[in-house]
């Protein structure tokens, strides 16, 4: 029991990494990254926990009652919210990659090159100009 939270955190991180390495879909990959992220939450909160302590909020209990570590909670709390916006940013990059390359599979994604034909007319014209400039 004394190492279970740490083991769970390590497992979550490992399994998330496995998912990232083997993923064939960028949206699935972003989800796996979220699992890696949740490993840090479990680790930090596990480190800050103490048996028989109250939550670090001294409203019902008078100050001085043994409470768990509030620093870890403050770390995790902000990280969850900021992490969600970063997830959104990654999802947007995924959608854009799909628009440019027409695929969500990391294996099929090719490096973006100027002049590559895209599905959208405005891109093609812009890309052709860039290609001409490169030549």
């Amino acid at each position: 029991m004394s190492v279970l939270p740490y083991a769970v955190a390590a497992w979550l991180f490992g399994v998330g990494l496995y998912g990232i390495a083997t993923s064939r879909n960028f949206i699935h990959l972003v989800g796996c990254l979220g699992v890696c992220q949740s490993a840090t939450y479990v680790l930090l909160l596990g480190l800050g926990y103490r048996w028989g302590s109250i939550a670090p909020i001294f409203y019902d209990h008078p100050p001085g009652t043994p409470a768990v570590d509030p620093v870890m909670q403050a770390l995790v709390l902000t990280d969850i919210v900021v992490g969600a916006t970063l997830t959104a940013l990654l999802l947007v990059l995924t959608v854009q990659a799909h628009k440019r390359g027409g695929s969500l599979d990391p294996e099929k994604l090719r490096p973006m090159r100027a002049g590559r034909k895209s599905g959208r007319s405005q891109d093609t014209s812009r890309g052709d100009e860039a290609a001409r400039g490169a030549r």
């Binding site: 993923s23 879909n25 949206i27 972003v30 939450y41 800050g48 109250i54 670090p56 947007v92």
Partner: protein, 83 residues
């Protein structure tokens, strides 16, 4: 009380694994939401109500929604290009 925390930790491990193993993104969204719910209960049991509230709002509502809309954007994009 002593049995509750190990149980929740194991649940968290299982639901996190489920998120990775569900390969179809359309179904993975539900695994993500379930994982968020399990983590919420775990954080509450770890005496972190602030974090639980945050995870509840983000992990079970906001993030799955963003995933769903991103999937829809991809599908709308794909169906717009094929015909």
């Amino acid at each position: 009380m002593t049995i509750l925390l190990p149980l929740l930790l194991l649940f968290a491990a299982i639901s996190g694994t489920a998120v990775v193993l569900v390969r179809d993104p359309n179904r993975q969204v539900f695994a993500i939401a379930a994982n968020g719910l399990v983590l919420t209960i775990l954080f509450d049991a770890l005496q972190a109500p602030d974090v639980a509230l945050s995870e509840l709002a983000v992990g079970t509502a906001a993030v799955p929604l963003l995933f769903l809309v991103a999937l829809m954007a991809v599908r709308a994009n794909a169906s717009g290009e094929e015909p």
